[in-house]
């Protein structure tokens, strides 16, 4: 047994990133150290805290518990990949900004990615569904109240009710 090295090629935020890395390299280390995308944080390293959440082929995963080789050939989206071409924030990012959905900010990239995935699967979640959908993310500032508010504000239920309120005026 040696420190085996293999070629890994990912599409990260629509950019091809290829490198030879040790077989045991975790996706989070590939993103931070090889792709130089450091928004994705390393928290617990035990699949508990969700700070390292990214999208793999559009779905939330904890990148500390995925080998870079498992993601080879696939599409990864990190927090850096959410904003539009002109730097305009994604709906979830905007909702975090408007609802003060962060305190120290360490867990924030993971929460934003988890909520982005949640809203793709369930565009109009109830508050209970948001809370259940965020079971995999921990905010050690305990700022959950505004995080849940932000998720609800970013949901299509919220934009639909805003639209109907505007229409009623």
């Amino acid at each position: 047994m040696s420190d085996e090295v293999s070629k890994v090629s990912l599409t990260v935020n629509a950019r091809e990133v290829t490198a030879d890395v040790e077989d045991r390299t975790l996706l989070v280390h590939f993103l931070r150290d090889v792709a130089n995308l450091t928004a994705t944080n390393i928290g617990c390293e035990t699949t508990s805290c969700g700070a390292c959440t990214v999208l793999l082929d559009g779905e939330s995963v904890k990148s500390c518990t995925v080998l870079a080789l498992q993601a080879d050939g696939r599409e990864v989206t990190t927090l850096e990949g959410l904003a539009g071409a002109e730097g305009e924030m994604s709906p979830v990012q905007k909702a975090f900004h408007e609802n003060h959905g962060l305190q120290c900010g360490y867990c924030t990239p993971g929460f934003v990615m988890a909520i982005t995935s949640l809203l793709r699967e369930n565009p109009s979640p109830t508050e209970a569904e948001v809370r259940a959908g965020l079971e995999g993310n921990i905010c050690r500032c305990t700022g959950y109240h505004n995080i849940v508010k932000a998720a609800l504000a970013a949901s299509s239920a919220s934009s639909a009710s805003a639209t109907s309120a505007e229409a009623a005026q």
């Binding site: 085996e4 045991r24 390293e45 508990s48 518990t65 995925v66």
Partner: protein, 278 residues
């Protein structure tokens, strides 16, 4: 925290996976979603020399209605079991329980076959499949399949009927006659924790199947509860027997005595909920 060095190999078919396992021998482990194995490797509880990644073996990711039973490919993810229309209608206990495993991120990666083959007595799905009288289909190095009933599959903690070089390929779940008469109870301290104790109940016209999570080295059927119900005992009396024949451990989360108490309480709640139906 990263795993010790290993050599990564990727299989693209069942055949290739079995060939690699035969070639690499007992120093190799199959890697499915990796959400049990990789954490154990980080902690050096598992130090395989080779990982055989099954992630591209797409032929093992399916949920098929086979009339009297549902066939689930071993690499079907918890998320897909949870959201399957077929399972939601015909085996709602399993669809629901798959949605209680870990958290959404874990369910996007973890697989039903990985959970079964890993055989942690604290895992949800092994006990649920035991309550549902599932059958596990195992492929050997020669390519032949053998079915193993759930009652004979789980041997001890992390130990199953799988022999070296064998691969779990399919889980067959008979459709319950009364699909809505089920309950799944899980007691945890935090949302994503493993069950301190859990209970899966599926009622049928012939009786009740009651399975326990984390009350011994394997998932267990609460045989004393089942036979008391079969002989007409009221739910409260039957549930009082929930800890009979179990072998709960004591650890940082709970004493054996507290686990036995939880088993009695959760079995009673589960039976009441299953009887009320959905």
């Amino acid at each position: 925290m990263i795993p010790a060095p290993f050599t990564y190999r990727r299989a693209s078919s069942v055949e290739e996976a079995l060939e690699l396992a035969a070639e690499l021998g007992e120093d190799a482990k199959f890697l499915a979603g990796g959400h049990s194995l990789l954490p154990m490797m980080k902690l050096r509880f598992a130090v395989p020399a080779y990982l055989i990644d099954l992630g591209r073996v797409t032929e093992l990711s399916y949920i098929r209605d086979e009339g009297t039973y549902v066939a689930i490919g071993a690499l079907t993810r918890h998320h897909d079991v949870n959201t399957s229309p077929v399972l939601g209608t015909d085996v709602p206990l399993l669809a629901h329980a798959a949605g209680q495993v870990g958290d959404p991120q874990i369910r996007h990666r973890g697989t039903i076959g990985g959970s079964v083959a890993h055989a942690d007595a604290a895992s949800d799905l092994p006990a649920v499949l035991l309550a549902l009288d599932a059958t596990f289909i195992i492929r050997g190095p020669e390519g032949a399949s053998r079915p193993v009933p759930a009652t004979e599959f789980f041997k001890s903690i992390f130990e199953t009927a799988l022999e070296p070089g064998e691969l779990l390929t399919e889980i067959q779940v008979p459709k319950p006659a009364r699909p809505g008469a089920w309950s799944f109870q899980k007691f945890t301290k935090r949302a994503i924790d493993w069950a301190i104790v859990g209970v899966a109940v599926q009622l049928s016209p012939g009786g009740a199947a009651v399975a326990l999570i984390n009350m011994g080295l394997t998932p267990l059927r609460a045989a004393a509860v089942e036979s008391a119900l079969a002989s007409g005992a009221p739910v409260a009396d039957a549930a009082a027997l929930a800890a009979a024949g179990t072998n709960a451990g004591s650890d940082i989360h709970a004493s054996a005595q507290f686990r036995e108490h939880l088993a009695r309480v959760l079995v009673r709640r589960a039976l009441e909920e299953a009887r009320a139906g959905r």
